[in-house]
Amino acid sequence: MNAIADILFGGLFQGSLYAMMAVGLALVWTTIGVFNFSHGVLMMLGAYFAWQLVDWGLPPALAFPLAVLLMAGAGWLLQATVVRPLIGRANLVLVVVITTLAAGSLVENGVLELWGPRSKQIPPLIAGNAMLGGVGVSLHQIAIIVVTPIILLALWLFLNRTRLGLALRAVAQNEDAARLVGLNVTMLYGLAFAIAAALAALAGIFLGGYRFMTPVMGADPLLKALIVVVFGGISSISGPIFAAYLIGFFEAICSYYFGLYWTPALLFGALILTLMIKPEGIFASRSRGLA
């Protein structure tokens, strides 16, 4: 009973974090066709913004949304400086990988310079602990498990039920056609990055609430998010979400039975197997687009 509760809880919790990260990556990929390698750094920056705002005396209920909003702006700025000017370049995918990596390194070192290497922590969403099926868990983690699906559902509703969301999906499906019917594609590119950065910031705040923050805290979640999007199929939103929880559970099971050290190797093995059997990801249909 204890083991099952442990795995279930760990899987749900890790899965939530990965889902938040992976959805942002997939959103940017489907709309613009580039891969944002500074996504992990955005996550870290969001956490530091939140910490700074709390440190200035703002209550978390105000500081957290404000940090997310600031990060949305940062995401917009990022695409305006290192992505949009490159659109139309023949080797766009490759060049954007390098520019986002460089931008990430810039931000990472900037944070190190500005806030120093000392570990920081931001207040949890809800303080306190609880017993659940014989496992001691923090309410903060429970809150994340509950809040994440709500946020993802809201995103899904936004993409499927609002004009703006539909416009984003239109760009993802056919950019030229979207431009022809008068959509502001440039603005929508910015929007995709802004939403992705905001989601990354949320993940950063979640993570910073129970683990110490460092300037390199985004590296591991980025790697996991990459695995998730490969696993789930990158060209949809729902695929990565399911895959995120699947990977979360896979990780929880592996680290329970094989230990932490072997988990990455097993994860990678599973990834290679998936790619050899179904290169487009296990949850991807043949068609493309946001769904």
Binding site: W29, T30, T31, I32, G33, F35, T81, V82, P85, L86, I87, G88, R89, A90, N91, L92, V93, L94, V95, V97, I98, T99, L101, A102, A103, G104, S105, L106, N109, G110, L112, E113, V171, A172, E175, A219, L223, L226, I227, V229, V230, I234, S235, Y261, W262, P264, A265, F268, L271, I272, L275, M276, P279, R288
Partner: protein, 338 residues
């Protein structure tokens, strides 16, 4: 623009347009370049200056070999630095634990890197674009995780220290102001460059460029995507592994930092800054970036930030890289004269 076009590996280069350089001209140019480099220790007498040059040569080998798979092969291979890291650790373990002769270990590290490249090629044989990036990136992380987890042998996060260095008969390589290491590194770069240039000018080299530029057409003309891709990655691995081994022998310590993102970013920007699909471009860019970074040693934490800004600006302003820029200048100059 968007996701559909991942099929075309378009790290395109302006290199093969009309008027390919005749091989005699190229050889003469390369020899002159080599001679200039070989005479550099006469000008650069201090150990520090030579150290910078040795690092330039190591980077140049890694970057130019990366250009083979990335620029010529059009394979978005992000695990190239892992091959370098494998060379570092292969040499360290072979000389320290297996007590192998350093020179034998140097070559063995290259072979081990080739084997690793073949292994990582298997899952990416039928993949395209972004998926190759993701898998090879994951491969690099996996190698790092394995090294970290086997801390009994690899020292984990502590790394390995006091690795046996190379030797040259009875010559004392520690007290010669890096004289011998300089020439070994230069020889490594010369051999690697010779190998790369012969490779890309060969039939195989032409076929991998054909695959990059028009996969369907090349395949329909009988070029095997699977075989050529494997050959490309294996070929780019050999000198990369040797460079890693040399790095370990020269620095005499190894750490997992060689798998880190920052080193990968810098070397990748050497490839892109030089201009993909040129080989020489990567070498020139290694020189420019390393010397630039060293000259800013006083800036401390600002150095990686300035480098990052520089990379972004060059990517935005000059898509063809340094070689593209030189070609444009050359074209301008010859037109004036005519």
């Amino acid at each position: 623009m968007s996701a559909v076009e991942t099929s075309a590996p378009t790290a395109s280069a302006p290199a093969r347009a009309p008027g390919r350089t005749p091989w005699m001209t190229e050889l003469a140019g390369a020899l002159v370049g080599l001679l200039v480099l070989a005479l550099l220790p006469l000008v650069v007498g201090d150990a520090y200056g030579r150290h910078v040059l040795i690092m330039v040569f190591i980077y140049a080998v890694v970057a130019s070999n990366w250009d083979l798979s990335l620029g010529y092969g059009g394979v978005f291979n992000f695990g190239h630095l892992a091959l370098f890291g494998i060379g570092v650790y292969a040499y360290s373990l072979l000389t320290k634990l297996a007590m192998m002769d350093p020179w034998v270990a140097l070559v063995a590290s290259g072979v081990i890197a080739v084997v690793a490249a073949v292994v990582v090629t298997i899952p990416i044989l039928r993949l395209k674009g972004i998926y190759i990036i993701l898998v090879t990136f994951g491969f690099a992380q996996l190698v790092m995780q394995i090294i970290l987890s086997q801390s009994d042998y690899t020292g984990g996060t502590q790394g390995i220290v006091r690795i046996p260095g190379l030797y040259w008969f009875d010559h004392n390589m520690v007290r010669d102001a890096k004289f011998a290491y300089f020439y070994i590194a230069l020889a490594m770069l010369a051999l690697s460059t010779l190998f790369l240039r012969i490779f890309v000018r060969s039939r195989t080299g032409k076929s991998i460029v054909a695959l990059r530029d028009n996969e369907e057409y090349a395949v329909s003309r009988g070029v095997s995507l699977v075989r050529q891709r494997m050959i490309t990655l294996a070929a780019s691995a050999f000198f990369t592994g040797i460079a890693g081994a040399f790095y370990a022998a020269y620095q005499r310590n190894a750490s997992v930092e060689v798998f880190g993102m920052s080193l990968a970013t810098i070397v990748l920007s050497m490839v892109l800054l030089g201009g993909t699909g040129t080989i020489y471009g990567a070498i020139i860019a290694s020189f420019v970036l390393t010397v630039f970074a060293e000259s800013m040693a006083d800036f401390g934490a600002w150095r990686p930030m300035i480098t990052a800004v520089l990379i972004i600006v060059v990517m935005l302003v000059y898509p063809g890289g340094i070689v593209g820029m030189l070609k444009a200048l050359w074209g301008l100059a010859t037109r004036r004269r005519a």
